[in-house]
Structures are given as structure tokens and as C-alpha cells.
Assembly symmetry: C2
């Protein structure tokens, strides 16, 4: 991958990439062949200059006066975000949320394969989850040594995540999609972690609905 910048790409830029990709795919479907940075910016609620700056981080795909070729941009963003091989993911916590999230990961988002699922509850172990069978969490370390999965999807309570964290960080996992409220930042500040706090999202929405006066 071309990278004109000596600096690390900032997290806000990385977080905008899937939105660029989504929009560019839609343009492609609609038969649009070029798009200006200001049109891209308008869609993302940002400026043309921000768009140019973002995409320049990756070598830039635009041409003065013409804009971006949609096909080139789509394929560049595909390469950046999805690449040519899937990241292997394991699910930790096969409760209701874990099952939904794993189905989402496996069926809806490109670039990932769910390869195993673990739980500590007797009634979950041995049940099926898609094509997989939920395994006893006691076998997690051995599994990781043997198969070296890359991503862990954590659908467990904060307490369990907190208790497991020191172990989880020794298993060679390269990233966490974290639905627990446990915060990995103190133990592993540089590890790629995406926290999804569904409860916080819902509660702050509730606040806005309850207090429309402020």
C-alpha cells in the first residue's frame, strides 16, 4: 500500500474510511464514474478539503479538475479495508448478543471469518452457532496456540472481561471487538480495540428523549 505520510494515520480518518467506501460503492452501483471531493464531503458532512486530506493519507486517488474516479476509489478502499484474505475471528460469549453479533460478522461484513466460539456456561457449550459448535472457554488457550485466530469478539460482562484480560493479551490476538464495558486501554494502550457500548448509546438517547427542554 502506498502511504505518502510519515505519520500514523489518525483514528478519526480510519473511522471515516468505511463511510467513504459505502458511499463510493453506492455511486458505483448508480453508474456514476467520477465524484468530486466536495460531493464526497457533503455526503459525509465534512469539507472538500477534509476529504482530500483524508484520501491523501493513502496516496491520493484524485485528479485536479476531474475529481476521483469512482472505480479506482472503490477498489483502493476495498484493498485498504477488506484486502484479499479474511481475518479469522473467535467469539467469546455465545449468549443472545454474541449470537447476533457473530451472525452479523459472518454474513454482513466482508473481510472476516468466524472460526470458533467459546462460552463458560454449561448450557451453551456444545450448542451450535451457525456452522460452529460452542466450545468450553477452558480450551481457549490451547485453541489459540494451535490456530492463531486474529480477532476476538467479546460479548461477555465487564467482570468476566476484566478477569480474562491478562490471559487474553497473551494469546496472540491482534484485535478486539469489545461489547463488554471493560476498558483494555490501561493494559494494552496500542492494541487495536473497537469498543461498542450499546447500553451507553441507548441511555444517552433516552436522556435526549426525556429532556427535550435542555
Amino acid at each position: 500500500m502506498q502511504n505518502n505520510s510519515q505519520n500514523k494515520i489518525s483514528l478519526p480518518v480510519i473511522k471515516r474510511l468505511p463511510r467513504y467506501y459505502r458511499h463510493v460503492l453506492q455511486l458505483q452501483k448508480s453508474g456514476v464514474s467520477t465524484v468530486s471531493s466536495s460531493d464526497l464531503g457533503a455526503f459525509l458532512g465534512t469539507t472538500a478539503s477534509q476529504v482530500r486530506q483524508d484520501l491523501n493519507c493513502f496516496g491520493g486517488f484524485g485528479q485536479q479538475g476531474v475529481g476521483y474516479r469512482v472505480d479506482l476509489l472503490a477498489s483502493a478502499l476495498h484493498d485498504l479495508l477488506i484486502g484479499s484474505s479474511n481475518l479469522s475471528a473467535i467469539l467469546i460469549g455465545s449468549g443472545r448478543l454474541g449470537r447476533a453479533i457473530s451472525g452479523f460478522l459472518d454474513n454482513t461484513v466482508q473481510g472476516f471469518s468466524l472460526v470458533a466460539a467459546f462460552d463458560n456456561a454449561e448450557y451453551q457449550i456444545g450448542t451450535s452457532l451457525g456452522n460452529l459448535t460452542v466450545q468450553d472457554i477452558a480450551g481457549l488457550s490451547d485453541y489459540c496456540k494451535l490456530h492463531q485466530p486474529q480477532l476476538a469478539v467479546l460479548c461477555i460482562p465487564e467482570k468476566s472481561a476484566s478477569a480474562m484480560a491478562p490471559t487474553l493479551l497473551t494469546l496472540g490476538l491482534q484485535g478486539f471487538w469489545n461489547f463488554s464495558h471493560y476498558d483494555f486501554a490501561s493494559l494494552a494502550p496500542d492494541l487495536p480495540v473497537e469498543n461498542v457500548h450499546l447500553g451507553d448509546s441507548l441511555q444517552s438517547l433516552g436522556f435526549r428523549m426525556r429532556h427535550t427542554d435542555i
Copy 2:
């Protein structure tokens, strides 16, 4: 509710409230009786001054030199975030994600009650979802007129959300927990909407895992 500020509370402040509440509940469980703004700030990864500023928006609960009384802060945050009555919520889209999210809303987060679920797929209509029976989306308007639910949880594809949006906005709904990629901001800029973009979250995580060099 006391509100010392003449200005609207900003969204970032509102989004921090659930984290304050979560931490304060934990302190309460641990038997801690007072907490300083700097300790609260350290937990939230922000400064003491930011904490004081945030909590002052709601009248302030602290005392110079003593800090915040944990019990008062907990009960004030409870009143702000959860209040005394549940918000009534309907689910639109009872697929795998919708089912998980509705279970989460009903069982895990305080302050909400799921009162109905809708889908347009023949094979979903009439199936049970918790204590509810999934209803035909064709009956949504009548249902809303009769029961005036407050929140809609959207677990449908972007296309469906986009097609339904003009109707949804006439049903008296006061907020949307939006798992589709449809953006309500253009039609209803002031309506409380929380967008949860699971796919974007996962893709940007994938990017960070694939490109650890940049």
C-alpha cells in the same frame, strides 16, 4: 431538574453521562462514599475540570474540598438517565440482529420497555419475540396512533429505512435507535437519533489490524 445553564447541554456531555453513572454505581457497590472530580476524570480519561464542567450543567452535585457524594451523584444520574417511568419502544425489523438488540434493550438496560415488534417478512410475522408476537409492518401506523410508542429501534437495511423514513417521521415517535445506515439528519436534524454502525466499527478495526505499519 435543575439546570444552571442557559445553553443546551452539548451532545458530548450527554454521551459521557452513562459512563459517569456506570462508574458511580460501581463506587457505590464498593462502599466508597465520596469521589473527587480528578478521580472521576481519571476513570473517564478526562480532566477534573471537564468533570466539574459536565456535572455543573445539571446543577452540580459537588462540594469544594470534599468532592461528590457518591449516593447523591448516583441518584441524580439515575433521575437524569432513567427517570421514574420507562420509555416505550417498538422494534422494526425482527431478524437476527433485531432480536438480539431487543433482548438487550428489554433485559439489560434500565428505562425502556419493548412493547411491540414489526417486520415485513411473511416468515417473521406471527413468530414470538420474548413476550411479544411480531406484527405485520402494514399495521405500524394504526399501532402508533393507538399506543403512541416513544422510541423506534430500527434493525432494517438502509434501503428499507430510507423508504420508510418519511412515514416514520409522522408517527409521533420521539427518538430512533438506528442500526441501519440510513441517515435521518437530512430529514429531521433535531430529532434524537443514535446511530449504531456495527459494520463501520468492525471495518475500521479490521483496517487497524491489517495495517499496523501505518
